[in-house]
Symmetry: C2
Subunit: 668 residues, 2 copies
């Protein structure tokens, strides 16, 4: 080891190591190996390079730090405690992984201020990092002036072998290379160990060469355990290369310092045990008690507080200058930072009457997106190579590319999972960005890991999902969602909205734009749909509402969503003409309906009316709660089939006549 | 173009092209671009190299062909029709993408005999190819003898830019490189166009270099449109390299031959239109009517029939010799090919009594897997780097690695999605292999694309998913499934089984092993669970059953699954001691219960008993169908939390006392 064991730097590094060792030991649970091995690189980064303000973790222009290998979170908690964040106290560390601690088992942005993104499911963090860097590049291009720089920070990521094995990281890193994100610097903690043991058993590819193939600048620190200057030199070199992201492979020993468990799978995810903790203390000349930090080390770390204050003060000065010179842009910038929508933005939402042309809701979505893009400059996003099927291009802007980061149309490529994780990062960069992404609804299966994390992280990502049923037709069952809506509705804290027509599409976007803590997924039709009488933007916010009704207590309620609402409307007319009292309920969003008052819910779906027919071109899974024990549903219980969409719908029974038949069967 | 336009080979290649052009034109839907560009490489492969028998598409030792870029399926249908497969008639091609055609919008193994795997969602096919090659390597190592070869075929894959952008393909190809699968040969149709246009907008990485980094042998055919000999030479060279998979990058022009649309996104996924079809005919000197194939070309293609018959005859001879020399192995081999389980295998399933030690069901799973491995040599699989958490190691075998393909423990690495897609390929290699894979239940989100395809493809993959609830504890909400069970239960044709104890675990495996057309996903606990009175292997097959009951009609039914069944049992005892009549229903599998007779279902959950409490440490989504309008559920409606598992369960209300309280509230 090149660092003398009792040098101040060694004390600092070992402070990180032993906080991790002791916290995991006390919890009898956790991952000490990564913090022990990655402590040197993390120390050099946080001590010599990274710009952050522990006393204001939300300072806008901070460098972003992401621990993609989130299981090693004691590394981050140790750094945060040591550098003076108030959000991680010593008590939190002592109660690592315990109920109520701000030091939970993986880094969670919603639990611990200063954690940028929620990581843990491997591969997500590096993709979030790509998103953070994209957000920085975009805002820098939009707001910086030749004489005044407001947006200028790095995104640093530590990732491990596990992250590098996950395909999602490859997707995002390929895109990062394409985009030339020069301010993204990733440290690959190359320790050759994953949970099952040596990476020799499953992962022998040349990671550096792969990143070179992606177009990254790749460096290698051969002794990541001791050569702090080499780590520092690599960071310096990384910063000099401004047109490509940098991957610094840092070769380390997992569990460094543990005489018997270092460099084994055994130290990856388990406490060392009393004896080995003792042996490690001896081996690293660490005479301190558990959770005791030498004063010198703490003082050194805590220099971050003053440093951070001065960074922020300097930036505040720049902002003051900017305000003077560029008042309009400054106002816009501050609006963005505050996450405030411009007044009256919602007036841009298109509205429709039944006389308006029949359109696929994906076309309504296109019109709405474009109308909003004019009044919401913070709206940006794109599709996973289905731009002209999803209809997500913003006409008012160009393509987000190297040299054109100010543009708002992002081409994600055929990389759904990476797209989702990138959008999480962009959305969590600051409260102002409104980020959308798009693919066919069925391919949410590919990005489900990222969608779940958006919901968990309270990141208001906007999902524009088209081709939302078997009605998509010829592409067949691999492309036709059936169970997809159910699977998405099951995710906590996610709005799933399936609009019936143009007004409901506008209503869906209103929710999506306003919901900054709950992501919104909109499901749009491929096929044309009539604009219905009685739909409105406001009604969507209620989740479900009475679209049309007979006088008095209905004999039957037809409940539809999306492309099946018009079938319900037409069937109701037929049934009424035969003297039946029929109510039609449009139900674009279950989650919003559940959030209404009991009275409102009863007013829409009265308990007394038990004859209910739900109509949705999808699985009935979960629907019983609305159609009830005496109700029925017109649903799709198998996979779909390849044929023209109209015919597929007809073959699966989605006709007015069949709705009428099923309704009559219910009425007896 | 190096091929004279009227040479026999050109006629053959143009026959493929125009079948694709005309079929898409007639359907007014489909993807003509890929077949037009990839026809030369496909022709060379199918004409000069590939060993298959059109009249017996299931001939065991055939080379496997996978069109990973499944949207270009007219390429494969054209080849199958032209070479004489009975499963694709000219009428099927004329009704491409129409209801009932054997030429659906993407290749579907269950619709068209001779299609090996279902592709379309990009990236899956190449991973299936890796799985097919792994199956071949395994069976070759197991059965071939120095003097007699039974298993010896190549796996050929055509994949495009889209497949290469998807992370799932990177996962599987990295593993394929590690494993050194020399008989896997992939053609990368390098046409620089995806749906959104030029790959320059999002995909500029060096794909060849990336594959080299994975450890593949990489070749490049610069003129894939005309240089048939270069294509052939590359295949020859690929076959010579036996210790690495080969990727042949074949540079082509998408939509080759179309004077105005070739090399544009416009020809990727839309019909050419009448004028352009005409112009393409002129440009390629193609004077034939739509769907007309020149006799010379058809004769040339149909040579495949005799060739195929002789390949198969030759192999049958080898098999006859093998039978003579190695009678036992031959019997075993033929059993495998027939997909017959050995008699009495199920006697190996462990059974338990309440006196047996409390175990986590993942431990029961470990015991069952190992017991089965002894009697089912066709059982093989592994984990995505969680072997010692999932407990999936087969003690009776070694690790599946280069030089040890006969072994049955596969290390998939941290590659859940790739693992799922590889297992689909392995399972579809032949009816006999029983393939399992494992990770934490929550990470099924990462591999959902592949699970859905297993269900759609009728591939009986076995999923061993552990850590199945918030009870997993400290890892916290990123690792705790909540909505995961619901999302999986929503998938058609998938058994989701959550066993309560050892007997139910054995029952789950019995289903999993026997269900060759329906994949089975088992959800196992991290934490220890008692062995219950009344559980049995047979009861699992019913999906739900009465575990314990009071005399007479019950006042209340408690319905539990997995780790919550014992809570129901204990709560029932308490309630009975207070004079309540309580039935306990264990419900390990919804899908199996739904398949029972109406009478049986009524006998377990009588309509008359409306006071029902469901208890599952998961989302209530979908459960209303069982607990009904007057019932209730003890469920988890938010994400979980990081703390020791027992405490998390307690905090979320999973205690006997709370079950009793909720039950009493229902009883009023």
């Amino acid at each position: 080891m090149a660092v003398a064991t009792q040098s101040l730097e060694a004390l600092c590094i070992n402070s990180i190591r032993f906080l991790a060792v002791d916290a995991v030991e006390k919890a009898k649970s956790g991952h000490p190996g990564l913090p022990m091995g990655a402590a040197p690189m993390a120390f050099v980064l946080w001590d010599r390079f990274m710009r952050y303000n522990p006393k204001n973790p939300k300072w806008f222009n901070r460098d972003r730090f992401v621990l993609s290998a989130g299981h090693g979170c004691m590394l981050q908690y140790a750094l945060m405690y040591l550098t003076g964040y108030d959000s991680v106290s010593m008590d939190d560390i002592k109660s690592f992984r315990q109920w109520g601690s701000h030091a939970p088992g993986h880094p969670e942005n919603f639990e611990t201020e200063g954690i940028e993104v929620t990581t843990g499911p491997l591969g997500q963090g590096i993709c979030n990092g790509v998103g953070l860097a994209m957000a920085e590049a975009h805002l820098a291009a939009r707001f910086n002036k030749p004489d005044c720089t407001l947006v200028d920070h790095y995104t640093y990521v530590i990732l491990g072998d596990g992250c590098n094995m996950e395909g999602v990281s490859g997707e995002a890193c390929s895109l990062a290379g394409h985009l030339g994100l020069g301010k993204l610097i990733a440290f690959y903690d190359d320790n050759h160990i994953s949970i099952d043991g040596s990476t020799d058993i499953a992962f022998t590819e040349d990671v550096s060469k792969r990143f070179e193939a992606y177009g990254w600048h790749v460096l290698h620190v051969e002794d990541g355990n001791g050569d702090l200057d080499a780590i520092a030199a690599a960071i310096e070199e990384a910063k000099k290369v401004t047109d490509r992201p940098t991957m610094i492979k840092v070769t380390t020993i997992i569990g460094y310092g543990s005489p018997n468990k270092a460099n084994t799978g055994g130290i990856h995810g388990a406490a060392l045990g009393t004896d080995e903790v003792k042996a490690t203390r001896e081996n690293l000349d660490w005479s301190y008690e558990p959770f005791e930090i030498p004063d010198d080390a703490l003082s050194r770390f805590r220099q971050a507080v003053d440093r951070g204050a001065s960074y922020e003060a300097e930036w505040e000065e720049a902002l003051a200058t900017y305000r003077t010179k560029y008042a309009d842009e400054a106002a816009e910038f501050e609006r963005l930072l505050a996450g405030k929508l411009p007044e009256g933005w919602e007036k841009a939402l298109p509205t429709y009457t039944p006389e308006d042309k029949k359109l696929a809701t994906r076309k309504n979505s296109e019109a709405t997106l474009n109308a909003l893009a004019e009044v919401l400059p913070e709206l940006l996003g794109g599709s996973a190579d289905l731009t002209h099927s999803n209809l997500t291009e913003l006409e008012c802007s160009g393509t987000f590319q190297k040299g054109g980061y100010e543009n708002r149309n992002i081409h994600f490529g055929v990389r759904e999972h990476g797209m989702g994780a990138i959008c999480n990062g962009m959305t969590m960069h600051n409260p102002g960005l409104l980020v959308y992404c798009a693919t066919f609804l069925v391919f949410t299966d590919y990005m489900r890991g990222a969608i779940r994390l958006a919901a968990l992280s309270k990141a208001g990502v906007i999902y524009v999902m088209t081709h939302d049923s078997i009605g998509l037709g010829e592409d067949g069952p691999t492309h036709q969602p059936v169970e997809t809506l159910a699977a998405l509705r099951a995710i906590p804290n996610l709005y799933v909205i399936r609009p019936a027509d143009g007004n409901e599409t506008s209503g869906a976007y209103k929710i999506a734009v306003e919901s900054r803590k709950t992501p919104t997924l909109m499901a749009f039709s491929r096929q044309g749909l009539p604009n219905l009488d009685g739909t409105s933007i406001e009604n969507v916010a209620k989740g479900a509402y009475v679209l049309s009704d007979s006088d008095g207590t209905p004999d039957l309620i037809l409940i539809g969503t999306g492309s099946e609402v018009h079938l319900c409307v037409e069937a109701a007319e037929k049934l009424r003409s035969e003297g039946k009292k029929v109510r039609v309920v449009s139900m674009p969003c279950w989650e919003l309906f559940e959030a209404q008052s009991a009275d409102y819910k009863e007013s829409v779906l009265p308990k007394a009316v038990t004859k209910r027919l739900a109509v949705e071109a999808a699985s009935s899974f979960g629907w019983c709660r609305y159609y009830g024990a005496e109700g029925d549903m017109l649903s799709v219980e198998t996979f779909g089939a390849s044929a023209p969409g109209g015919l597929v719908l007809e073959k699966f029974g989605y006709t007015v006549d069949n709705v009428v038949t099923k309704a009559k069967a219910l009425l007896g």
